[in-house]
């Protein structure tokens, strides 16, 4: 569950999106920018393992712990969907 100070507000979600997009571009060695509307698996080819690495980097940068057990990949088609999940299922580390 999210805690109030990092919560699901727009600013925190924006931070998550920025972190996810920049980290994804680096992990995927992708010269073109990654955007919020891109589909994680079909478009970016994100594997389960790389997804966990992405989340770990996100935890490090934002100083949070993400509750990964609640993740439902079927509900997270795009980078934006993942950002909403992270924003709503994390707490301060």
């Amino acid at each position: 569950m999210a805690i109030p100070e990092i919560g699901t507000d727009a600013e925190f979600r924006r931070q998550v999106v920025d972190t996810l997009t920049t980290t994804l571009a680096r992990l995927l060695d992708r010269p073109e920018p990654v955007t919020e509307d891109m589909r994680l698996m079909e478009e970016l080819g994100l594997s389960s393992t790389l997804a966990l690495e992405l989340l770990l980097e996100c935890e490090d940068r934002l100083e949070i712990l993400i509750d990964v057990e609640q993740m439902d990949q079927d509900q997270m088609k795009t980078v934006g969907d993942l950002a909403i999940f992270v924003a709503g299922n994390s707490r301060s580390s």
């Binding site: 698996m41 594997s47 389960s48 393992t49 966990l52 690495e53 989340l55 770990l56 935890e59 990964v68 057990e69 609640q70 993740m71 439902d72 990949q73």
Partner: protein, 317 residues
């Protein structure tokens, strides 16, 4: 009805932290962090001074129920994740049979379902015993045939030590005495889904396996429950395969099953003990007093490698 008469487990007393294995295995610090943070794996058992047959014998040494009943053992089944573990003509299974006074038994290895081979071995043992002319459908029968199911392996090679950023294998072994019509722990149902199309040789099916892994595991568990005429509400505890923590945490969400009733105790410091996970976790459940007479429990495993097998068994304690 197939029954587990007695179970014995050997796990090496010394645990090796996975970070100390990272260098020789060529793992990055990020991979080690992922194993720690999400997979919940800290250490695995390694027993460099004990051979494969030595591991199996250490497990069998604790099987008190075998003493004096060796003559009743008709079959010895060795459930193995890896198809080849010794150079010809070394035969660890025959060495173990000889050392245990079971040279008269029909001994063979059950494999090609990777880490789900242990479930198949129990099922095969029960069916062989039930078909034995000397078998009697009487739980009080003190002379009927028995089978010994062995599991456990050495983590010899890279692939036998770590699997695709998913799990670390731990050395250890188990020995389980099986009867055809015993009173405990009775096997109520066995289900398996064998998917040869998930061949890992080329890697092209890996993403599909990742997507379908948990739904198929849930399907086989529910299939076993249905065969037993039960639902998850009837299950006291789930004995998982020790692949990692996050897989089972997410399985609990998928199945809507309480996480504190899935026995995850052995994952952090024993890792995935090949086909022996079921028995390792069974012993822990008994030691912790989680199973009372009459309790039903569900065991599940996935064997992935050359294809994938999803298996589940329902038992009554």
């Amino acid at each position: 009805m197939t029954a587990l008469e007695a179970v014995s487990v050997y796990l090496p007393p010394v645990r090796t932290p996975i970070e100390s294995l990272a260098g020789p295995l060529g793992l990055t610090s990020m991979q080690v962090r992922l194993f720690h943070r999400f997979h919940g794996l800290r250490a695995v058992g390694r027993d460099p001074d004990t051979s494969l047959s030595g591991l199996l014998l250490k497990a069998a040494a604790g099987l008190d129920a075998l003493r004096g009943r060796e003559h009743r053992v008709r079959y010895v089944l060795y459930a193995r994740a890896m198809p080849v573990v010794a150079p010809y003509p070394v035969n660890p299974l025959h060495e173990v049979c000889s050392a245990l006074g079971l040279g008269h038994a029909l001994a063979f290895t059950v494999t090609h379902q990777s880490c789900a081979s242990g479930f198949l071995a129990i099922d095969l043992a029960g069916r062989l015993l039930a078909a034995d002319p000397d078998a009697a459908d009487d739980p009080a029968d003190q002379a009927g045939p028995l089978a010994l199911v062995l599991a456990g392996e050495k983590a010899f090679t890279h692939d036998a030590q770590v699997f695709a950023d998913t799990t670390f294998f731990g050395e250890g072994a188990s020995a389980c005495l099986v009867s055809a019509f015993g009173v405990r722990d009775r096997l109520l149902a066995y289900a398996s889904i064998v998917r040869g199309d998930f061949d890992s040789a080329t890697g092209e099916n890996d993403a599909r396996l990742q997507r379908e892994y948990r739904p198929l595991l849930a399907e086989v568990m529910l299939r076993a429950l249905a065969e037993a005429g039960l639902t998850l509400d009837d299950i006291r505890v789930i004995l998982p395969h020790n692949v990692n923590m996050v897989t089972w945490q997410r399985m609990c969400v998928l199945l809507k099953f309480p996480r504190d009733r899935v026995l995850l105790d052995n994952i952090p410091d024993s890792g995935h003990v090949f086909c022996a996970d079921l028995f390792v976790n069974y012993q822990t459940a008994c030691e912790r007093g989680l199973l009372q007479p009459g309790d039903r429990y569900l065991a599940a495993a996935v064997g992935a490698g050359g294809g994938a097998t999803f298996a589940a068994m329902v038992f009554e304690h």
